[in-house]
Symmetry: C2
Subunit: 298 residues, 2 copies
């Protein structure tokens, strides 16, 4: 089995087509990696690229994209609502096939060190690759965004993990890490009462004592006349989709509200869906080897 | 996309290892097909082989396995409880990838014609490949087994679709057809009352007015202290797993009985599981392209 790592870097540019394409070119044209998707958001002035490949090629592609972003994006001039600290804001590495999380952590640290040494961009390590416990959580690293970090980077608690405590003049700083694939999962409730969505979000998310590895906020969908619990599941193996769904159903019931529908934004790992079907169908001793397509591939 | 057909022929030999292996060799050693599985049952004195490949190679492999079985298995001496009419009893062809059901029907008819002409074995066409409406159902073709067919084959209603109305002296007759992949799905009920399993099986199966494409019987699991509704779903796209599960749950409720667990015997097509997860998770507008692994493969 070939080793396969996914990389989903975020860049602080969502408007200038030429800049976007030039950065994407660093990945598109590199041997050993495959560009799966990229999308730029004008409102957030931000873009995300999804690509996969064998570990060494992924590291190389991420490095050259970061280098190009440092040349083309000037954080001193960047405006955007989304919290960000650099032209290449965050680089998550995700083990997909034949690669352990430990290997991905090492890959993230090697990449971070290279970016700091060769590009002079200070690097923070997050999630599984974090060296400092409080930096597991990306929000702690990005607190206050580029503007706040510029003032506070010399403070010991904001000192980068690689490189000097000094922002790169245009590229700012970068966060590199390793994590499980996350699932963006939204559940729409049959009510217009945003208080209910916010209350449920608060009750079920990890940060306020709910399910581990679950981030959730309540959002109003004015056009649809519904409210939504908008979520990220950062470890779907520990916190499976079905558990999130069943818990929200139970919480919504106390308000006499039903689940109208759900949506998965972007990609979802296959075993997250298989897991849900074996749960609901109560299948005993199910083995993925029983899946016809998988047997054929072997 | 390469064209891929699955073939699951059944042979009337479940005991003699050498005979079994020699028949399997016809498939194992043929270019263009891949042997996925074979299993022989001593009690039923019967074996089933599962293999896949491109249509022409599958047809060729099935033909040579049938030829070998005619040489090695003498139906005059065969004993077995399972209804059967020939040394190669039934050859189902299943469209998997890049092949329509219509193409599989044509493949089945071509194969049937070839077996009748070259091997002098009379052939019946069943399921989607059936020419006579009443032969869609395999049970109608095999009624009374080899012994009854030997007496009745000259009757107009039992006349084969290809070949003369005369059994092959050793190989008997063969059934060839095309069908969807079937799913063997069993649901165990938390009761020892076999009457409940039998009653539910009767209420939900197609033959007594229940769900289309569903065969069901009630079975006692003495060791486990449970009863089981044992099923074959012959078209899981029309009759999905979740509908079967939910209907059985509802029917069981009237007896105050719960579903203890289910099991899938053998292989299951991936989209049958995806379908169940999107149903239970209420996912709106889900596209299989959102599955990470599928995106990577493209």
């Amino acid at each position: 089995m070939p080793k396969l790592v996914e990389c989903v870097p975020n860049f602080s540019e969502g408007k200038r087509r030429e800049v976007i394409e030039t950065i994407v070119d660093q990945i598109r044209n590199r041997k050993g990696v495959r560009l799966l998707d990229y999308s730029a958001d004008e409102n957030h002035n931000r873009m995300v690229i999804t690509f996969v490949g064998e570990p060494r090629a992924v590291r190389e592609a991420a490095f050259y994209a970061t280098k190009k972003a440092a040349e083309l994006i000037n954080m001193e001039e960047h405006k955007g609502a989304h919290p960000r600290i650099g032209s290449t804001d965050v680089i998550p590495l995700i083990p997909l096939e034949g690669v352990t999380m430990k290997e991905c952590v090492q890959l993230a640290r090697d990449l971070g060190k290279e970016i700091a040494e060769k590009l002079k961009i200070p690097v923070y390590l997050y999630e599984e690759a974090a060296i400092r416990e409080e930096r597991k959580n990306l929000e702690n690293i990005r607190r206050g965004g580029y503007e706040a970090l510029k003032k506070e980077i010399t403070k010991p608690e904001r000192c980068p993990d690689f490189g000097q405590p000094l922002l790169h003049p245009t590229a700012g700083a970068t966060v590199v890490g390793a994590r499980m694939p996350l699932i963006a999962f939204n559940i729409n409730l049959g009510t217009t009462d945003i208080k209910i969505a916010k209350r449920i979000a608060k009750d079920i998310r990890a940060s306020s004592g709910g399910l581990m590895h679950l981030k959730a906020i309540g959002v109003e969908l004015k056009k649809e006349g519904l409210v939504q619990v908008s979520m990220n599941i950062t470890d779907y193996k520990t916190t499976p989709l079905y558990r999130v769904m069943e818990l929200i159903k139970a919480e919504a019931k106390r308000y006499g509200v039903s689940v109208r529908e759900s949506e998965i934004i972007g990609l979802v790992p296959l075993d997250a869906l298989i897991d849900a079907s074996t749960f609901y169908l109560q299948i005993r001793d199910f083995s993925p080897d029983q899946i016809l397509e998988r047997r054929i591939q072997k």
